[in-house]
């Protein structure tokens, strides 16, 4: 009996289990792409997570599902990408290598310390005790946590207690950057540096913080002191494509903050820039970027061939896009060419710089006036994907080519000042039925009056402030049905079709949005801010909002001047360079499908220089700076002398001991 029972029981159970599993494997069958396994085999298998996926299996799945590129494995580099591409039947192009870059230059033997740390030998542990032993809150703690974490043995501790990267081994996987409790290791490449701003976690020297273009000044000075002049130019050009022009006319705000001011006189930072770029020009060897990314095939029209437009074009090209510059006058250069005198900026310098920019592969069409020779509608019908306006405004137009015509730079749109002058001079201005006037105080009432006389039927005046504020400002308000007021609203988007303006979207202070249909728009400012347009379907186009670095209330919306808290005024060429680069980044982000936004942790106030009020242990030099002005070019010896004077400042640290041969006299 028991034998039979046992036999039957196990027979039955075996049968049941296998039949059930067989059925289940049919019913619950999930098809899995066999390529997933193949891709996974091709990947490194370190499961490092550097790609952002949970391990190699997840990354393989993402690749097969087309959610990730074949070069997803940042750690594996080009060869692994080739293997993955083979499985996927795709081609792969060489990728610019990313390299880990520890961001601290003074080990704890050179830095100011809060206390002596003698605990667990790990940065993360040290971090728990008042954020580590260094005074500097972004200083490397020197306990080699990153060295231990590196799966590729690319990091080691150097003699000065700072991690050293073995570039041949580094794969840019980003594990060190992630594990560093101070967050001061970045994954760096020239492209990444082009796209990035100074951040609070970066050890930035005071000069660098005060440079509007955010040039890595200590680095280019270091390259000069080592005699690598072209490399130095390359460093500068990561943030500024007009270094020689800046060498001539930059007001050099960097030198105001140079820490040498606390001892004797500032380092001739701008003179060094002039020296090194003049070297580039004299020897006629362009310091080209070491790497150009694969072409994205995106065409971008840049309207306005001044510093800002050319800078944007340069960096767009640098990021792989195809920019074309449209200039109303015959020659590129804008204010630099038509306002600044020959003795302050020789034209051959200007031509050399512009030539260098165009040589990177940028087309320019001169003598074409937007709103007269072509319009947004025409640009977008010519297969441009986006258009950037860096036209400046009424003032620059007056200066460059007189004000005899009223230009509709954006279809149906006038600057208020243009509109009023045109009316007083009886120039021809065409006005349709539905008009919107943005801001402008009492002059907007004036404009509204003119519009009414010209037969407009429906006028809307939009003010960014409230009605009570308007009354306080003594703005006279109309009292007719034809004029409607909207208070406390900000314009967010313009839409149009071919050569016509269609709608304006507003956002009210309570967060509600509103769309106005319109034929004409009158903008109550003297200049156009940088505006970005993108192509829509069937001849439609619209603006793209550019997110400001400082999103204060008055600085949102499309008609806000200045991308990064500083207006593109005429204060300096270097400011225009700054905005140009950021516009290029915004376009790049938009084209790549990312949100246009500043990076996190961007250093907001460049002036907030570290609280170092005295410099110790550094001797005064007898003739510190020598004669430096824009007309003088340093000799090589003088340049090296200037470069040696640099204290190589960090956030807090600086070179405290100057060796004897560095204390030399200024060379003749």
């Amino acid at each position: 009996m028991i034998i039979l029972n046992s036999f039957l029981m196990l027979l039955g159970l075996g049968l049941l289990a296998s039949v059930m599993l067989a059925i289940a494997s049919k019913v619950f069958y999930v098809w899995e792409d066999p390529r997933i396994e193949q891709v996974e085999e091709a990947l490194l298998g370190a499961n490092c997570g550097g790609c952002g996926y949970a391990g190699c299996a997840a990354a393989a799945e993402a690749v097969v599902m087309s959610k990730a590129e074949v070069d997803v494995c940042s750690a594996g580099g080009f060869e692994i990408a080739l293997q993955v591409a083979e499985v996927m039947g795709q081609k792969v192009e060489a990728k610019e290598p990313d390299i880990s870059k520890p961001g601290c230059y003074y080990g704890f033997q050179d830095a100011d310390l809060k206390y002596t740390y003698d605990g667990v030998y790990d940065c993360r542990a040290a971090m728990l005790l008042y954020g580590g032993s260094k005074e500097c809150n972004i200083g490397c703690l020197g306990l080699a946590t990153c060295v231990q974490a590196c799966p590729f043995n690319a990091l080691s501790m150097g003699e000065n207690n700072l991690p050293v990267v073995n570039i041949d081994r580094c794969t840019g996987c980003g594990i060190c950057a992630e594990i560093c409790p101070k967050g001061i290791i970045t994954i760096s490449s020239a492209t990444r540096r082009v796209l990035s701003d100074n951040k609070v976690t970066e050890c930035t020297a005071p000069c660098q913080r005060n440079c509007p273009a955010e040039i890595d000044i200590p680095e280019y000075i270091r390259q000069i002191s080592e005699g690598n002049y072209l490399e130095s130019v390359r460093v500068i050009k990561e943030k500024n494509p007009f270094p020689l022009i800046c060498g001539w006319i930059c007001p050099a705000p960097c030198e105001f903050e140079c820490r040498r001011n606390l001892i004797d006189e500032p380092v001739g930072i701008n003179a060094l820039k002039k020296f090194v770029t003049e070297y580039e020009m004299k020897t006629n060897q362009r310091a080209l970027p070491t790497y150009l990314p694969p072409a994205t095939g995106k065409k971008i029209a840049i309207v306005g061939g001044g510093v800002e437009g050319l800078t944007a074009a340069y960096y767009l090209r640098r990021l792989g896009h195809i920019p074309t510059v449209f200039e109303a006058t015959d020659k590129l250069g804008g204010i630099l060419r038509y306002v600044i005198t020959e003795d302050r900026l020789p034209r051959k310098v200007l031509d050399w710089e512009i030539q260098g920019i165009l040589e990177t592969g940028i087309e320019a069409e001169t003598g074409k006036v937007m709103g007269i020779d072509f319009s947004l509608g025409v640009l977008f019908s010519e297969e441009f994907d986006m258009a950037l306006m860096t036209t400046g405004g009424w003032d620059s137009r007056q200066i460059l080519r007189g004000g005899s015509k009223v230009e509709e730079t954006i279809p149906g749109t006038y600057l208020l000042i243009d509109f009023l002058i045109a009316a007083s001079k009886k120039l021809k201005v065409s006005i349709n039925k539905k008009i919107v006037i943005l801001g402008g105080g009492n002059t907007s009432s004036k404009a509204a009056n003119i519009c009414l006389q010209k037969g407009a039927e429906n006028i809307t005046i939009v003010f960014p402030f409230s009605k009570t504020e308007a009354e306080l400002k003594n703005i006279k308000l109309f009292d007719t049905d034809q004029v409607r007021y909207i208070f406390s609203a900000i314009p967010m988007e313009l839409e149009g079709e071919d050569g016509h303006l269609k709608t304006l979207s507003l956002i009210h202070s309570d967060g509600k949005s509103e769309k106005l249909n319109l034929d004409n728009l009158i903008v109550g400012s003297g200049r156009y801010p940088e505006m970005l347009f993108e192509k829509g379907e069937k001849g439609k186009w619209k603006t793209v909002e550019i997110i400001k670095v400082l999103p204060v209330e008055s600085e949102i919306g499309i008609f806000t001047i200045g991308e990064a808290g500083r207006p593109t005024d005429l204060t300096g060429v270097v400011v225009a360079v700054r905005i140009g680069r950021k516009m290029a980044r915004a376009i790049h982000q938009h084209i790549s499908g990312e949100e246009i936004s500043p990076e996190s942790g961007v250093l907001m106030d460049e002036k907030e220089v570290q609280n170092v009020f005295e410099i110790l242990n550094v001797d005064q030099l007898k003739t510190p700076r020598g004669i430096i002005n824009n007309q003088v070019t340093l000799s090589e010896d003088q340049a090296k002398y200037q470069a040696r004077r640099c204290l190589n400042c960090g956030l807090i640290c600086y070179k405290k001991t100057i060796s004897e041969n560095e204390k030399s006299e200024i060379p003749a």
Binding site: M1, I2, N5, S6, M9, L10, L13, G14, A17, M20, L21, A24, S25, V27, F28, Y29, V30, V120, Y121, D122, R124, A125, T145
Partner: protein, 199 residues
């Protein structure tokens, strides 16, 4: 009240990991990272409850009736293995999100002695169905609790200075011992609860 005592007993006093020596392989294996520990903990709670309720019925309505209780081990493990495989396939098809979270732990669970151990313990202790169900659930919770706590402690090893010979499993075992010692303290709760019941 009975179930409260059962819960305290299963989770704290007789924690299957720390006092009953069950399920120690995954305890050492998957406790290196918090996420995997949580995933494994949840998977075990799920499977242990499911498996115990099924094996209870198998025991009482098949084995006892056929008088072949001696086949308990082989029958139970077969049931558990098929069940786990079935759950795995089911989740993969029906709830892929859950499969992603728990899936990779399921094959490991077949050889987790906590599952078979608790199933057998419920029979040995002559629990009725409800008691078995709750005992299994609470044991699973106890497992997850100990595992997750342990993973929390183990996370700290990364930044602690540990002599080379003690690194990894050795220090983990010693730490588990200290944790078990801490759980020993719950013995007092059990005794006082018992005293309470008597009054």
């Amino acid at each position: 009240m009975e179930y409260i005592i059962l819960a305290i007993n299963a989770i704290l006093v007789k924690n299957i990991l720390l006092a009953q020596y069950l399920g120690n392989c995954p305890f050492m294996g998957v406790s290196k990272k918090m996420e995997t520990a949580t995933g494994m903990g949840m998977a075990v709670i799920f499977v242990i409850t499911f498996a115990t309720s099924i094996t209870w019925f198998v025991h009482h309505y098949l084995l006892v009736l056929l008088k072949i209780e001696y086949l308990q081990t082989i029958v139970f493990i077969l049931v558990i293995a098929s069940l786990v495989q079935l759950i795995e396939m089911f989740l993969k098809k029906i709830v892929p999100a859950l499969y992603k979270a728990l899936g990779i732990f399921l094959p490991l669970i077949t050889t987790n002695c906590a599952i078979l151990g608790v199933a057998v313990l419920c029979i040995n202790n002559e629990f009725n169905f409800l008691q078995s169900l709750f005992y299994a659930l609470f044991s699973g919770v106890g497992f997850a609790l100990a595992l997750i706590l342990f993973a929390g402690i183990r996370g700290r090893f990364e930044i602690a200075y540990i002599p080379k010979v003690l690194q990894d499993t050795a220090i983990a075992l010693v730490t588990a011992g200290l944790m078990a010692l801490a759980f020993y303290g719950f013995m007092g709760i059990d005794n006082s609860l018992q005293a309470l019941m008597i009054k």
